[in-house]
Structures are given as structure tokens and as C-alpha cells.
Point group: C2
Chain length 275, copies 2
């Protein structure tokens, strides 16, 4: 990739005030090369239409966010989750997204071990469908502060072990998000391991701000916080990762700002990391 | 220990509205057997006086919280931190506390690696003084959500590696706090390892509530949240840990409640874990 922006993708939730159509137009005009849709985008337009619109505008559809949330107290609940993941795989296929990000899920009411088992079973129950659709299920390890609500998979090492437990199936991968993993002293080693195993399929970027005042929606733009983005990005590329660097920022602060200026700031900060 | 409460200790910050003297009186009357002072307690009474008062009331002084915060941008800042830790060691000695808990520190402005190096150097610069005072420096791994502000040591494994880097000095140990470590799939294995290496010197309990609305002061009473306290407590005891189980809860909610009722609730919930 000659142009730095050739590897920049943005998640539509990053600019949540914009419709999916606005995201497509604006990202494309700004020179961004990839887009990751969120499933809420399909409430008003079909995956196929949005995928085509994106490609017509010169954007690659990088991924769909998100499937997962497999743990449930009842068998019915777990089957409902699996069915929903099958629909998400269909949507990824229709949108032309080669990957579905999995936020694996967790339940405060049950043990981590139980949730982890249900996650493995849930993914296993989706692999065949994913293979038929040509979609990779990208396990995203989440920050330990989400271990009881959003994902009981909280480190790159755990994600790697989960891939292994699923026989290193080619339709299962790992989405490494710096927000969730930056603190981990084994991060660079695990990035290298995941890449060597052929499992590093997505890379998400943003920043961690001090103080973080909201556990969910206080992520920062790259450069605003403490994450060593240059170092981690370099490690990801040295490991041989060729995919997009996907900007995924949940931020009440940025969502409340002028989104055009915000998009310019995203591009500016992304360029800074690559220098 | 025949009586369950024989292994219960409470950190004075848990009942922050009470003075240290009130903590001593109330804990003792309730049948609690140990107390961990916080350094702010010494603003109004000397470590020696409080230590003696506690022992006169039948309480064991378990530990002093807290030293640490070694990383600093300048050499002067780092030396200031070391000097302050020497004073904390003196205070632990004077209070008759065999251990000083270390919240190791971190700086958002510098890399984790740099902070970790400064932590190691800082502890190394305190070991001789700790040995002379007969005080164990207990490294407390903190939850990864504090990695840029309070501690760049974020897992039991990292704490164990730090002990090893400090030549497994007998005056360096590990304080395992469930709040910081409960999510870690290697926790029980690391508890066992730490105990085998002679490094498991403290065990702190509380709970993780859903949703957590404040990163600092929204800890929960045991039983209110999702932490598998029975399982973790059993692992600590099976590993051969003979010390107190120290209740350490920072909670705006509990601090705003009737502290006598709260103390009863602490004892009730502690008994429940041990059943």
C-alpha cells in the first residue's frame, strides 16, 4: 500500500450521528479506504445495498460488527444467540464483508468458566455456516473491565487458546483491539503468535484517555491518550498483518462534536501514527 | 483457626467515615481479628499509638496501605517516591505491621515498559530498608483499567515475574486482590505458583458490581457482585495461605450508609463465603 490512507478503515459507530449512507459518502470523500458496518445500519438499508454503495464509492467493506453474546442461562437463550449469529453471518455475506467481529458475551450471574464454555460451543455452532458464507468469525478479546457483561474472553492469549480449541479452523480469527489489550505485557508476543497461526484477522485502533469517566463510551481518538499506537501498529505490521487498521471509537464527547471536523481529526491522527 | 472471624481483617478505608480509633473499637467489638491501617490514619495519631491501641483491643495489625507509586518523569521525582516509601516502611514498623502494600504506580505520559522498569528499580531501592524493618513489600497487581494511572503491574503473573527479577527476596511478596484479578483465567494457577514460591503474602476481598459506574469508588461488598469468592478463597487456602482475608472496599455508596450496619453486613457476607 503506497498511500497511508489505503489501510485506514472506520467503523460507522465511530461517527454515530451519521447515517450509513453519510458515512460512506464522507469517508470516501476523505480518502478513507475501508468501512466496517454495524448491524444497526441495516435497520434502514439492506446489507446488500449498503455493501454495494460502499464499493461504488471506492470503499472496501472490511467487517461487520458484531456477533457474539453466546452465554445465556437457558438452552433456549443460547440457541437464540446462535440463530442471531447465523443471521449476522448472512448479513456479513450480503454486505460483502469477509469478517464478523465477535464480542463473545458474559453473564454476571454465572461463572467465567461456564461462560467461556458456552462461548466455545456457540462459536462451534456457527463455524459451518460461516464457512459456507466465506465469513471469518473474529474473536475480539475485550478489556477485563467487561469480563462479566460483554466478554469473558479478555486477552489475546485466551483468544488464541479459543482458536486452538476450535481446531484452528480457517473461519475463526482474532480481532486485536488496542483499547482492550494495550496494557498486556504479552501483547506483542501474542500478536506475533496470532499472526504466525494465521489467526490475526482484524486490528482496531483508538486510545485510552485519563481519566476514563465512562466504562463504555469514553474512548479517545488516537493520540489523545496513553496507548503506544506506533509501537503496537508496527508490531502488527511486522507480524505480517496486511489488513486495514480500523478506527473504532465510542465517545459521547466526540459524538457530540462536529462530525466533519472529527473525521479530519481521525485522518490527521492516523497519519501521525504511521509517521 | 477455629472461628471464621479469626481470619477476617478489614482495611480502615473500608469504613472511611470512621476515625482509626473508631475502626479499632468497632472492629474489635464485632469480633473481627485483624486491621489494616491506611497512611491517612497517621495524620491524626502516630503509627505506634494506633498499633498499640489495635493490639490492646485484640486486633492484629495485618498490613499498612500503601506505598508504591514509583514511576516519575524525573530522577528527583523517583527519589522522592523512594524516600516516601522508606517513610512508609518506618510507619509500618512503628505500627507493628509486618507488611506494606505497594500500589506500584504508572504514568500516562510514558511507556508501560519504562514505568515497569522504574517500579522494579524503586522496589529494589527499598528492599534493604524493608529488611532492616522486618517489613514485607507486597506488590499488588492492579486491574488493567488502572494501568496508566495507578499500576503498570496488572496481573499475578507480572507480579511473580517482578518478584523473580528482585531475586525472590524474602522481603518482597504479592498482595492478591480479587477486585483486580478475578477475571484472569490463570488466577488460580498463579495463586498456587505465588504460594509455592513463598510470595503470596496478602489476600484482599470485595466484589465487582454490575454496572460499575465509577472506576475508583464503586467496589461492592462480597456477595453483591460476580466475583467467585468462594472458589478464589478456597484456592488461596488450598495453596497454603494462612494469613488474614482483608476486606478492602472503596465505595461511595457504602461510605454514605450507616457504618455500623455496614460492618454487620461485612461480617455476614464474610461468613457466607466461608460456608
Amino acid at each position: 500500500m503506497n498511500n497511508i490512507l489505503d489501510k485506514l478503515a472506520i467503523h460507522t459507530i465511530t461517527t454515530k450521528p451519521w447515517s450509513a449512507e453519510e458515512c460512506i459518502t464522507k469517508y470516501s470523500a476523505a480518502g478513507v479506504s475501508g468501512i466496517t458496518f454495524w448491524r444497526y445500519n441495516f435497520e434502514t438499508s439492506s446489507p446488500r445495498d449498503l455493501g454495494n454503495q460502499a464499493r461504488d464509492a471506492g470503499l472496501e467493506v472490511v467487517s461487520l460488527a458484531r456477533g457474539g453474546f453466546f452465554p445465556a442461562e437457558t438452552q433456549l437463550g443460547r440457541q437464540t444467540a446462535i440463530d442471531d449469529n447465523h443471521r449476522a453471518i448472512d448479513e456479513a455475506f450480503e454486505a460483502g464483508a469477509p469478517s464478523l467481529v465477535l464480542v463473545c458475551g458474559a453473564l454476571a450471574e454465572q461463572s467465567l468458566e461456564k461462560s467461556r464454555g458456552q462461548i466455545q460451543d456457540g462459536i462451534a455452532a456457527c463455524i459451518e455456516h460461516a464457512q459456507q458464507a466465506g465469513v471469518i468469525l473474529a474473536i475480539e478479546p475485550l478489556h477485563p473491565m467487561y469480563a462479566e457483561t460483554r466478554s469473558a474472553i479478555n486477552s489475546m492469549q485466551q483468544a488464541a487458546q479459543l482458536c486452538q480449541s476450535l481446531d484452528n479452523h480457517p473461519n475463526v480469527g482474532i480481532a486485536c483491539d488496542v483499547y482492550h489489550t494495550w496494557w498486556d505485557p504479552t501483547l506483542e508476543k501474542e500478536i506475533e503468535h496470532a499472526a504466525k497461526a494465521g489467526n490475526l484477522t482484524a486490528f482496531h485502533i483508538c486510545d485510552w484517555i485519563t481519566p476514563t469517566t465512562d466504562l463504555l463510551n469514553d474512548r479517545a481518538l488516537m493520540g489523545e491518550g496513553c496507548i503506544e499506537l506506533k509501537k503496537i501498529s508496527a508490531a502488527v505490521m511486522e507480524a505480517g498483518f496486511k489488513g486495514h487498521h480500523e478506527v473504532e471509537i465510542f465517545s459521547n464527547r466526540w459524538w457530540g462534536s462536529d462530525q466533519d471536523q472529527y473525521l479530519s481529526a481521525i485522518i490527521h491522527s492516523f497519519n501521525n501514527i504511521q509517521k
